[in-house]
Every structure is written in structure tokens, then in C-alpha cells.
């Protein structure tokens, strides 16, 4: 028994339950917030190390052999994603200690955060398609609740769109699962993959592939299904935004990777071609959205969309290098995007607004913050030698190798426009003189402890970005190994179901 497969789910669940039991005790909640996310991170790293050493790990929950029970499966992609979840969770937990109001704490901020992480980790580790739906819902409802915490007008308006469109996505997913079960009579993804290969009518498989594509496309905020994201991500407290920005859409991307490598790999000429179009338009439309914005978090939100395009592009090209690029991109993006949101939070804490027009002068007053912004910002724009460069480079190289000129061109162009947005922020927030010189610090000084708590995770994430950039080889090797697993689904299937064929009733 290898507990590390399930612990990244159980620890945040337990942490969530414990902090709910102790909802009256602020101290306990804060302690559990740090301890729980740290536990998640540690077990996740443990898991990744094990998977890296021993290959795909499987735990049959309840000791029911696959495909009868629910199996947790950790392949490299899953394990990587869980580690990222741990990193983001831990960073945001630390940040939240300083940035979260007492009201938010009292009304369930920390339990919600734990459970969001649990949902995300569960989605990454489950090997069962319906169980994936369940974790999606856990994650979703946790995000609903986090989104409205505080009940402000913008939050409400954003939440209505967020909730509605995500529920539509859930329903499409659910319907697809129902139809799939009707066809193949199983829910275990490895088993589904094996059985689908035996179907004579591949047409219906493509039909189902389309349903999954739309369902996960909404979650991933792909074009033209991303509306919920820019409508809502800038409304909640910033730590929440950061958590969402880092993890939620990536779960959708992960799901796309999972099903379109494992299950729907029969007719890539059809399915992945559509993904390719989606990827290109997603990149473009997201980045254009950002170009029109003048609010810190809105710009960042639209960029999530455009970056999702790159990740999907990796999947859509469906070559080994492209998948490597996609995985690399996901790793890079999660860290960088979260970090940018956290920086935006510090900026707002210092200046009281997210509006670029009303900001300025931070380069002079907080040079360290400028550096901390510049690292993730340039990384996001794909500037070398930061993490984003390698991510973009691999994807583009894959695009060139696959001779997909159109999307490669878009990918390059979008890189430039991303740089434009980041520089816009830099210009307006850091370089520009503050709008009113005399009124530079309208908000009381930030306490030392508070600032330290907010800065520490930002520094940590920036170091991650730098590390991935300067020492890309291990990360690349990891992405490569993960891509190899993804492109050879038989390894996954074998790990889950064993080699015997007789299991199929």
C-alpha cells in the first residue's frame, strides 16, 4: 500500500473537515491552513518522487479491483499536477494569513480553500471518469463559495455567470459520462480506453469526444467558451483569484489531456484538428481581451485564457514534443499566473486599487516588488531565460516540426501581445509617477509581519520560475517522461487493469 497516492486528496479533505469542526477558532484554522497545505505539498512531492522512480502508481480504493471500484491513478502528469497544487496551495495559504479579512476567516475561507485543493487533487489523481465529475463538483462548489465570500455587488454579478456556465459544463460532462456508460458499460478510464478500442462504431466515440471537449473546454476556458472567467476572476479577494488562476482552468486542461490521450486517441485527424483551431483562437482571443483592459486583475484574467491556448496547442499537435511543451507550459503557467495575482494583491494592498490609471510610482517606492513583478511577468510573456521561454519555445518548436504554421504564427504573435500587456502593467504601475504625488500613501502602512507573509510566497514562486528557467533540464526530463506516458496509453491501462485481458466481463 502506497498511501502517498491518496494522501494528497485525504489530507486537504481532513484539513477542511478539521477546520470546519474548529470554525470558531481562528488560531486553529490558521494553523491547519499552513499545516494542511504543507502536508499536501510534502505528500505530493513524495508521490511524484515515487512515480518518477517506479512508474504509474495505482491504488484501488476499497480494495476493489479495477474496473469495479474507483482506482486512483498517479501517472507523471497527475503527480506533477498534484505537486503544483501543493505549491500553489501552500503559497496561497501563507499569503492568506496576511491578506484575508477576519470576516472571511470566520465564514469559512480556510475550509473552502482546503476543499478546493482537495477537489483539484482528486481530479488529478482519479482514474475514474465519474469520480472525476465528483471532484470537479467539489472543486466547483468550493470555488463558488470562495467567489461569493464577502457578498459584494461585483462578486454577485460575476458569480452568476461563473456558476451558470460552469454548471452547464458539468451537465454536459455528466451527460457524456452517462452516454459513455451506456455504450461501454464501465467508468474506469483505463477500462473505457480498452473497451472503446474494441467498438466497431467509432462514430459515436467521436460524438462523445466532442461532448467531453466542450465540457472540459468550458472548464479550461477555451475559445469560445471562456466567458465565465473574465466575468468573475477579478471580483473575489485576491488570494482567491490567485488560487483560481493557478489551478481551476488547469484542471480542465488536465482533463482534456487525460481523455484526449487516453480515451479519444482514435481519430486525431478529426478531434485534435478541432482542438488545434480552438487552441489558436483561444490564444488570440484571450490576449486581445487583455489588450483592451486597464485593470490589473482583468488583464491577468484574460491572459489565463490566452495561455490556456498554448497548453491546448500542445495537446492538439499531438506529437511527443508538443505534449512535452504542453506539460511544461502547464507547470510554468500555474506558478507564474498565481504569482502575478499575488503581486497584484500586494499592489492593491499598498495603493488601494487595481486600476492601472490610478496606480504608479511603485518602482520608486518598492523596487523589490518591481523585481518580483518583473520575473513572473516576463516569464509569462515568454522572455528568456525564465520558465515561460522554454515552455513557449518547446511548443513553437513542436509547431514548426509539425508544420502547423498558422497556430505557430499565432503563438508567436500572442507572445508579443502578452509582452505588450505585461509592459503596460509595468509602465502604469511601476514606472509611471503616481497620479497625485502628494497622496502617495493613502493607506496606513503595511505591518512588517503582514508584508513578510504576503511577500514570502511571491518570492518563493518567483524562485520557482527562475529555477525552472535556469535549470530547465530536470523539468524538461519530467515533462518528457510524462509525455511518453501520455502517448503510450497502454502503460496506463496496464498499470490500472493489469496485463490480463480476461477482466472484461
Amino acid at each position: 500500500m502506497m498511501p502517498q497516492i491518496a494522501l494528497p486528496i485525504l489530507i486537504p479533505l481532513l484539513a477542511g473537515a478539521v477546520s470546519l469542526v474548529f470554525w470558531r477558532s481562528r488560531g486553529m484554522q490558521r494553523f491547519v491552513a499552513v499545516a494542511g497545505t504543507a502536508g499536501l505539498l510534502i505528500t505530493a512531492i513524495w508521490l511524484l518522487a515515487t512515480v518518477n522512480r517506479e512508474g504509474i502508481l495505482v491504488m484501488h480504493m476499497g480494495n476493489w479491483q479495477a474496473p469495479f471500484g474507483i482506482s486512483l491513478v498517479a501517472d507523471l502528469l497527475g503527480a506533477i499536477m498534484v505537486v503544483l497544487t501543493g505549491i500553489i496551495g501552500f503559497a496561497v495559504a501563507l499569503y492568506s494569513l496576511a491578506a484575508t479579512g477576519r470576516g472571511h476567516e470566520k465564514f469559512g475561507y480556510f475550509p473552502l480553500m482546503h476543499l478546493l485543493l482537495a477537489g483539484v487533487a482528486g481530479a488529478f489523481l482519479t482514474g475514474d471518469i465519474f469520480n472525476l465529475y465528483v471532484w470537479f463538483e467539489v472543486m466547483l462548489v468550493a470555488s463558488f463559495a470562495l467567489l461569493i465570500l464577502g457578498s459584494e455587488k461585483a462578486q454577485m454579478e460575476g458569480a452568476i455567470k461563473y456558476v451558470t456556465l460552469n454548471l452547464v459544463s458539468s451537465v454536459i460532462f455528466l451527460v457524456a459520462v452517462g452516454l459513455l456508460y451506456g455504450m461501454v458499460g464501465t467508468l474506469n478510464m483505463a477500462d473505457i480506453a480498452r473497451r472503446i478500442a474494441t467498438l466497431e462504431d467509432t462514430g459515436m466515440v467521436d460524438v462523445l469526444a466532442m461532448m467531453f471537449m466542450v465540457a472540459f473546454g468550458i472548464k479550461a476556458a477555451a475559445f469560445p467558451l471562456f466567458f465565465w472567467l473574465p466575468a468573475s476572476y477579478h471580483t473575489p479577494p485576491v488570494a482567491v483569484s490567485a488560487l483560481f488562476a493557478g489551478l481551476l482552468t488547469k484542471v480542465g486542461v488536465y482533463a482534456l489531456y487525460r481523455v484526449f490521450t487516453l480515451i479519444f486517441n482514435q481519430s486525431p485527424g478529426y478531434t485534435h484538428e478541432i482542438l488545434l483551431w480552438g487552441a489558436g483562437l483561444t490564444m488570440l482571443s484571450g490576449v486581445l481581451g487583455a489588450a483592451a483592459q486597464y485593470e490589473f486583475r482583468r488583464i491577468l484574467s484574460f491572459h489565463i485564457v490566452s495561455q490556456i491556448g498554448y497548453m491546448i496547442l500542445g495537446l492538439a499537435l499531438f506529437t511527443p514534443l508538443a505534449i512535452i511543451g504542453g506539460v511544461f507550459y502547464i507547470m510554468h503557467h500555474i506558478i507564474v499566473k498565481t504569482n502575478l495575482f499575488l503581486v497584484s494583491g500586494i499592489v492593491r494592498r499598498l495603493r488601494g486599487t487595481y486600476q492601472l490609471k490610478q496606480l504608479g510610482g511603485l518602482y520608486r517606492s518598492h523596487p523589490w516588488l518591481a523585481v518580483l513583478f518583473l520575473i513572473p511577468a516576463l516569464s509569462l510573456a515568454g522572455m528568456p531565460p525564465l520558465s515561460g521561454f522554454f515552455a513557449k519555445f518547446i511548443v513553437i518548436r513542436a509547431g514548426v516540426e509539425a508544420e502547423a504554421w498558422g497556430v505557430t504564427f499565432i503563438a508567436l504573435l500572442v507572445g508579443l501581445l502578452t509582452l505588450y500587456s505585461m509592459v503596460k502593467i509595468w509602465n502604469e504601475v511601476f514606472w509611471k509617477a503616481p497620479p497625485e504625488e502628494g497622496d502617495i500613501d493613502p493607506y496606513p502602512a503595511v505591518g512588517h509581519r503582514e508584508m513578510w507573509l504576503m511577500t514570502a510566497p511571491v518570492v518563493g514562486l518567483a524562485l520557482c520560475t527562475l529555477f525552472i528557467g535556469l535549470n530547465a533540464e530536470p523539468i524538461y526530463a519530467l515533462a518528457e517522461a510524462s509525455a511518453n506516458q501520455l502517448l503510450d496509453p497502454s502503460r496506463y491501462i496496464e498499470a490500472v487493469l493489469g496485463e490480463s485481458e480476461e477482466v472484461m466481463p
Binding site: 498511501p3 470546519l20 469542526v21 480494495n63
Partner: protein, 152 residues
């Protein structure tokens, strides 16, 4: 001020609530063998308390519940998660059912049952949390504009 329930309703609630609660426990315990189980039982119990709430008001419901519905939720979740752990102790994968027979009353206890009880508590706690929050807010709003909304 509107009275929470009429005489007939309050009496009926007093009679029905224990009956429904009992029935919910019954559904919970035999759910493994016949229709029922934690969810269904929890929903019935929630219905019972909702009836009591409608008949006697929020404070009376809290008085009879003794703990905060949020505590129920927390306890239920904790129970649910903890019930997966004994398997670890034995070396099985999480969630592997463990069965014990309690000697004197010859009762078969098991982790699935504990799990089901967790579900029961969560369902009960969640529904009551929601309903009582709604009603409490209504009450406050009502006291803001006493009587103003009543126009038969």
C-alpha cells in the same frame, strides 16, 4: 408579528418530528440492506427539523438540536474521512471496509456504516445550516421593516 405555526401545526410537529427522526435513524441503519442509507436518512431528518422549525421557530429548533448545524457538518465530514483510515492501519488501501462485531448486542459495526453516519450528519447539518441561515436573515430583514410586508 406572525405566529410561527398554528396550534394544530405545532401539535402535529411535536408528534411527527420524533416519528420522522426515528424513521430517519431506521432508514440509516438498514440502508445497507433495503432502500435507505445516509443520504436519504439525512434528508428525512433534515425534513423533520425543518418541520419543527416551521412550527416553533428557529430558536426552538436550535434548542432541540443542541449543537450548531455547522458542527454537525464538520463532525460528519470528519467521520467520513476518518472512516477511510482504519484500512490504512490494517495495510489495505484506503476505504477498504472493516467489519467488527460488537459482542453483547451482536451488532455488526463497519466502516461503511460509520461512513454512512458521516453522510447522514453532513446532509442534516448542511440542509439545516442553509435553511436556518435563510430564516435568520429573513427575520432580521423583517424586524427592519416590521409588519410592512404583510398585506393580505
Amino acid at each position: 408579528m406572525i405566529k410561527p405555526g398554528t396550534l394544530i401545526l405545532t401539535v402535529a410537529a411535536r408528534l411527527l418530528m420524533p416519528l420522522q427522526l426515528l424513521f430517519s435513524v431506521f432508514l440509516l441503519l438498514r440502508g445497507h440492506d433495503e432502500p435507505g442509507g445516509g443520504f436519504i436518512a439525512g434528508l428525512v431528518a433534515a425534513g423533520a427539523f425543518a418541520l419543527y422549525l416551521f412550527a416553533f421557530g428557529r430558536r426552538a429548533m436550535h434548542a432541540i438540536l443542541k449543537v450548531s448545524p455547522r458542527d454537525l457538518v464538520g463532525m460528519g465530514l470528519l467521520l467520513g474521512v476518518l472512516s477511510t483510515l482504519p484500512a490504512w492501519w490494517v495495510g489495505d488501501p484506503f476505504f477498504t471496509a472493516q467489519w467488527w462485531t460488537i459482542p453483547i448486542i451482536d451488532f455488526k459495526a463497519s466502516t461503511p456504516l460509520i461512513f454512512d453516519i458521516g453522510v447522514y450528519l453532513v446532509v442534516l447539518g448542511s440542509v439545516l445550516t442553509a435553511i436556518s441561515a435563510l430564516i435568520k436573515t429573513d427575520q432580521e430583514d423583517q424586524s427592519d421593516s416590521e409588519e410592512a410586508t404583510w398585506n393580505p
